[in-house]
């Protein structure tokens, strides 16, 4: 068991150069995943979570995007400096991705079987009948009934939940060390979501795969993630263990987010507590803390300079000047 994290993102910045200005989608973001660990990147639309994941796999379209700075250490090697062909070796083989919308992520003109065997041929040197058998076995693992027949089907012949399972099969086909799941269950119903997430958890536990779970759903993060990184406007504003974040949130955004979501296990409140204001415009971010305009605890210092990341308790960090443990107990 090595002490080093499997993946370490250090100070990543990814910008998009548009006709209206520079969009700092990810701005100085750092996080890490250990082997076999599941971390979650939580945030709302535009916070940069998906862009940071695409940056890891170097799938950012350049132009208009550009990974402006930072390092991404995978098993000790900075993959941002790797030549393209070495990156292709890693992608799909050691790091796999599950996308939000399987309809667009899967090739519509190739059968599922072909897409899986293609990956097997490239990364695991399996061909012909051997590859086909493995593809069928994978489909069985992800719970697709009659896998030997469905392996010849096209993506559009699957229902939404089944497509997502097929994508999971594709992702695990080469036994990756890390899976990045970008909103894997946003498009499916809640009962299918439960099935898929339990499946993913079963697989990651069995194969000791690390998982980066990207989502805006606070519930599934609580259920499946060991550590949580909360993102806002391209920055990580709080991170820590799952317990820390949910029971001792320190950053006003995290606190606000948790307070605004109705929970089935709590008595019904008469009024929800929303976070006031609008999500920020990434081209015209306010000076100082990006959350300042919406923060109910904002002080002048917040408007002048971005707050530093403070360690609130061991392993629990928050980027807020007023970060004090137990500001709000849960």
């Amino acid at each position: 068991m090595s002490d080093k994290p499997l993946l370490e993102v250090r100070n990543l910045s990814t910008y998009f150069y548009t006709q209206d200005g520079i969009v700092k989608a990810v701005d100085g973001v750092s996080y890490a995943v250990d082997r076999g660990e599941t971390i979650a990147l939580v945030g709302e639309s535009g916070c940069g979570k998906t862009v940071s994941a695409l940056s890891i796999l170097r799938l950012i379209p350049e132009p208009p995007g550009k990974i402006a700075s930072g390092e991404i250490l995978f098993d000790g090697i900075d993959i941002l400096t790797l030549p393209k062909d070495r990156m292709l070796d890693i992608r799909g083989d050691r790091i796999a991705m599950i996308f939000q919308e399987p309809l667009t992520a899967l090739n519509p003109v190739l059968t599922i079987g072909l897409q899986i065997t293609e990956a097997l041929e490239r990364h695991r040197n399996m061909h012909g009948a051997v590859a086909l058998e493995e593809a069928i076995r994978l489909l069985k693992i992800v719970g697709i009934p009659q896998p030997d027949q469905r392996v010849k089907d096209y993506p559009h012949q699957f229902s939404g939940g089944m497509r997502q399972r097929a994508m999971i099969a594709l992702a695990i086909s080469c036994e990756p060390e890390l899976i990045i799941a970008d909103e894997p269950t946003t498009v499916v119903d809640v009962t299918i979501q439960a099935q898929l997430l339990e499946l993913i958890r079963g697989i990651t536990e069995k194969l000791n795969t690390a998982l980066i779970l990207i989502t805006h759903n606070l519930g599934i993060v609580a259920r499946y993630a060991h550590r949580v990184y909360v993102m806002y406007a391209g920055h990580i504003i709080e991170h820590g263990s799952s317990q820390d974040i949910y029971h001792h949130p320190c950053h006003p955004y995290t606190i606000g987010l948790l307070a605004s979501v109705p929970r089935l296990d709590e008595p019904r409140k008469t009024r929800l507590q929303p976070i006031e204001g609008q999500p920020p415009d990434l081209i015209q971010l306010p000076p100082g803390c990006a959350f300042g305009p919406r923060c109910s605890y904002v002080i002048d210092a917040c408007r002048q300079a971005a707050p530093p990341m403070t360690e609130v308790s061991p392993g629990h960090y928050a980027a807020c000047r007023l970060a004090v443990p137990d500001r709000k107990q849960s």
């Binding site: 119903d189 809640v190 299918i192 805006h216 609580a222 259920r223 409140k269 507590q273 976070i275 609008q278």
Partner: protein, 333 residues
């Protein structure tokens, strides 16, 4: 009167024929989107309608508003059956029935300014040549919490939450008594969702509007509804007042649905055992025989594949359609 029924549907069905054939279209199958649904909504009440994709809740909402014409059944409003009225006869009644959409981007005409959008219902009913028109628009902008200098802006200049507020202002323009809210917050960011829910709540208190709140988000539905109906494959599985449904769900599907919603609390989640339903949501084209839920039901037993359970009241206004409850068994003639 709080208890007065404002809108009632009786045995509503909506089947979509699926045809094939080049010249003569032949009906090959039927998509039973809504298959015999009945309920009543009272003045000022919010009925939450939950279900997963394909269950027919959106189609039901549209049938209510006569955007789709029902295949059979009645929609009773203001003493009249809307299904029997022609489009012309419906027009004056449409002032009272409004719709709030799921997609804040698509539901506003990109070429209209905010004022135009809000005022459109009034223009359609020829109420715009009065001085009260502009006043009403300003008033509505204020009510939904937008700033007045945004009145001349175009939808693409607003954020998602603001656009949804525009849609709400538009729905309020003619002072309707009943609004169908079709997943009004699912396309919005989490932190904005609470804002919109509070707004809808406030408006209901202020104006006494009844809502049919369609959603798949069970936690939100619990917050805003007075009563809740659970739908699956075009049929109602359970209807109860809010607390009864969430505290003692009777139908296995309801139990599974509630169990599948993760709680934002890791300690709670660690201890919780969730019910995982097997299989996929079947297509409404060939619904299963007997109880439509039986292939996935974890409490299935022999009569389920052959007997269709009826939605029956088992006490206190709590209705359920499950053969485990004797009232659900179809009455023999």
């Amino acid at each position: 009167m709080k208890n007065e029924v404002i809108i009632e549907i009786k045995n509503l069905t909506k089947y979509f024929p699926l045809t094939s054939g080049l010249i003569r279209q032949k009906k090959v199958a039927e998509l039973r989107a809504v298959d015999g649904v009945s309920f009543a909504i009272h003045r000022g009440e919010t009925l939450g309608l939950v279900g997963e994709s394909g269950c027919g809740k959106t189609t039901l909402g549209k049938c209510l508003l006569q955007l789709y014409r029902a295949t059979s059944g009645q929609v009773l409003f203001d003493g009249k059956d809307l299904c029997q009225l022609s489009n012309k006869e419906l027009r004056p009644l449409r002032r009272n029935l409004q719709l709030i959409f799921q997609d804040p981007y698509d539901s506003l005409d990109p070429r209209f300014t905010a004022s135009d959008i809000i005022g459109e219902p009034m223009r359609i009913h020829n109420m715009h040549r009065t001085p009260a028109y502009q006043k009403r628009i300003d008033e509505l902008i204020n009510i939904v919490g937008l700033s007045p200098y945004m009145a001349d802006r175009y939808p693409h200049e607003f954020s998602g939450g603001q656009r949804q507020r525009l849609g709400i202002a538009r729905a309020l323009a003619l002072q309707p008594g009943f609004i169908v809210c079709d997943e009004p917050i699912s396309a919005l960011d989490v932190s904005i969702q609470a804002q919109i829910i509070n707004l809808l709540d406030d408006l209901r208190e202020k104006f006494g509007i009844a809502y049919l709140f369609i959603s798949h988000d069970l936690a939100v539905v619990r917050h805003i509804s007075d009563r809740v109906a659970v739908m699956y494959l075009g049929k109602l599985m359970e209807v109860a007042d809010r607390d009864s449904l969430y505290e003692s769900p009777l139908h296995p599907y309801t139990q599974a649905l509630l169990s599948a919603v993760p709680i934002p609390d890791p300690t709670v989640e660690k201890k919780r055992n969730i019910i995982i339903l097997k299989g996929e949501v079947p297509s409404p084209i060939n619904p299963p025989a007997g109880c439509v839920f039986h292939p996935r039901c974890f409490k299935v037993y022999e009569p389920c594949p052959t007997t269709v359970p009826q939605l029956a009241d088992i006490g206190g206004g709590h209705q359920v359609a499950c053969l485990h409850y004797p009232n659900s068994w179809p009455k023999s003639e």
